[in-house]
Symmetry: C2
Subunit: 437 residues, 2 copies
């Protein structure tokens, strides 16, 4: 199969337009000029675009070609091991240079910034998948790259940090003393394990202060989800049969949106009718226990207000190994669609996810990153329900990255030392009390 | 492109037959019965086969399909960075479940053993690439797997060890006290960093003592190189232009043989005429500083005598990070072909190889394992010679694995702390003095 020529923008196909981001001071919708200190104009245009399809530039296709199209595989061995009549397909993104789906957006982001004359990009990273993807992409287009990595992952996953450095990036543990936002957190909580919200504040602070510096975000925003639709477009073309159920993990929503948007287009057009289900960690249950409200995308309150499912921008999730899912908020676009009833959401405990990861590795051979083990845990649960009911459902999931950097976590699981965090409602209530009026 | 249906056996196409393995006691050629305690009969038949093509069983193709055919990529960004008129192609094997080319033989070895009723496989591993590949393959066919991992890598690369355990294998550091062979080494050298030769002795000792236990080797033997020819067969079909130079790294020879044998078939038939070049580490220079003689494949002297390029079975290479190249001997088949003048060999220092690895990562995006950085270092050297002469040569190389488990080594290199070992002739002479009379 060949590469998709266009990204798919679901916004114009929705039954209602998503609420706009607001300026925190004026409470008016932000315009392109408000975003210009952070992003180049071509990305801002994509962020607010109402075109259904956006052409992928040739320079981006030339890099995509290194690992795309990615394989769509049938999990026959897993099916046999489960004894399920379900047919399970997975789209595997771990063959990319950074080992995850993140380069799908890192590459166009670096490209558009380079074309706009930007010299340096700043960003945050959780588990390091996004950071290593952006470091790789920057090396492709001659940009410098400066990364704030959430402290919990910085300590747990030193080798992702090393990978970013091999690609030539500078990496700070977040919270760091390099920024005012980081310094403030450290002053109050010297032992902070960090969060994506804090790291975003640090990266945004540095980008906003520099003339030829811009900021890149690895998830959440419309243009990021747009770029990830290559996953779903390829899968649509590769599948021999249309899915009854589509399952993806959600942190900021880019892997999930990238997988499901093209299928939702077909569903909105009445051509298919799959159930679509997001899976989030029980330690950071944005859809299932958060509220739908305007909130900051970062901890310090530097970003516009985004209407989204949020646990509050002060919420610091427990240090689960799925660092890429430790985000207090959620893509505003997906949040809007969830409110419209376009998909379901469930949450999973860490140990159930690692159990699914080991089961998948021992049957299908691929070691999954902790993030997609959430989708695999629900995929296995769905396949076992099919076993009970005898329904031969077709299940599609996204295996968005390999776990070769996550073996310390697997070691903990195999040794029986993996912790399952409980999240008392009071912690959510406390964080939600800090929502902007 | 589709998967190859057959493995290619170069033996019947050679101008002279390779010298046979000898029984160390009788000095007579070993027969199938001598090998039966170690290998199932179908693999022994492949080891001595004179058929040019061996059909790949459907069960093996079904597993190969998880990651094969592997991509053949043109290194346009590296070419541009070097300013060379050469055109560089690389065959990338890092997308396999274990991240290297090793599953190409691990899968058929596990399959034939399972079909023969074997319940457990033992093996050695250097950097862990072979061990994780065999652990994966055993999990596919329901076999137990017990692995002796060279101490130097066991300590440097804990996460490969974890990966083997996720696949369900048991892993010992070698030398270990589990075996007589390991215990003997430990008694003499309690701080031994180990070697592939010692680890082989341990795995062979355990396999030979058990009824339903057999041994699997990750390189060196004819049937292993046979299975790896899927690499070269696919590359032949994928290339748009035939190579002038083919470059591969050599430890035991399986990646190199797998890449070059199909091209050598075409060369022997007069259809193409590439220069073929093996690259080995300066710390373990089997071709370039070893002798061509009968020697044991392991340290304890359990294996048949193999006529090969060897540094002596007592030789313990310095602990370079390319653990997969730390073997005192060389494939007897490749050794024979080297004597026939069918290819060249050069050696490279560790730091030159890591320099090439970082350069490759920053241009092509893929982080190479330390082993294929040897091939990349020579590929870059050849491309720079082309720049001087203006020759637009077509260069083909094999990128046989990713370096996501090797970032501690890259960290050392980037920090300037990487050591380059010198290998005094006296150490080689001492080891060669122990060759079997």
């Amino acid at each position: 199969m060949t590469l998709p020529s266009h990204w798919y923008n679901i916004v114009p196909d929705l039954p209602a337009a998503p609420p706009p981001p607001l300026h925190p001071g004026t409470r008016q919708p932000v315009g392109p000029d408000d975003l210009a200190p952070l992003f180049p104009m071509e990305l801002i245009e994509q962020e607010v675009s109402t075109e259904r399809f956006v052409a992928i530039p040739q320079e981006v296709l030339d890099v995509y070609r290194m690992w795309r199209p990615t394989p769509l595989l049938r999990a026959r061995r897993l099916e046999r091991a489960l004894g399920t009549p379900a047919r399970i397909y997975y789209k595997y993104e771990g063959g990319s240079p950074a080992g995850s789906h993140k380069p799908n957006t890192a590459v166009p982001q670096a490209f558009y910034n380079a074309r706009a004359g930007v010299r340096r990009l700043t960003t945050e990273t959780g588990a390091g998948q996004w950071g290593s993807a952006l470091a790789f992409a920057c090396s492709q287009f001659g940009l410098e790259c400066e990364i704030w990595m959430v402290r919990a992952s910085y300590d747990q996953k030193p080798y992702r940090r090393s990978l970013m450095r091999v690609y030539g990036a500078t990496v700070h543990a977040s919270p760091s003393s390099v920024t005012k936002a980081g310094g403030k957190v450290l002053a109050e909580h010297p032992d902070s394990t960090g969060s994506l919200g804090i790291a975003i504040s640090e990266a945004v602070e540095v980008a906003a202060a520099g003339a030829d510096v811009r900021y890149a975000l690895g998830s959440v925003l419309n243009h990021v989800l747009l770029h990830q639709t290559v996953i779903g477009e390829e899968a649509l073309g590769q599948l021999e049969e249309m899915p009854d159920v589509i399952i993806g993990c959600t942190g900021g929503g880019s892997n999930f949106g990238g997988l499901v948007f093209p299928f939702l287009r077909e569903k909105l057009a009445g051509r298919i009718d799959p159930v679509i289900r997001a899976v989030e960690p029980a330690a950071c249950p944005t859809f299932t226990r958060g509220v739908y409200a305007y909130d900051f995308g970062d901890t310090a309150g530097f970003t516009p207000l985004l209407k989204m499912h949020t646990l509050g921008h002060d919420f610091v999730p427990d240090p689960i190994h799925a660092g890429g899912l430790r985000y207090h908020g959620m893509s505003p676009l997906l949040s809007h669609m969830y409110e419209l009833g376009m998909f379901e959401a469930v949450s999973k405990s860490q140990s159930e996810c690692f159990e699914a990861g080991v089961r998948f590795a021992r049957t299908e051979g691929i070691l999954p990153a902790p993030e997609p083990t959430h989708a695999l845990a629900e995929t296995i649960a769905e396949a076992l329900r099919c076993k009970e009911t005898g329904e031969p459902k077709v299940i599609l999931t996204a295996l968005c990255g390999h776990g070769h950097f996550d073996l310390a976590a697997y070691d903990r699981y195999l040794s029986g030392a993996m912790e399952d965090f409980t999240l008392p409602q009071s912690r959510i209530d406390d964080a939600l009390a800090g929502l902007p009026g």
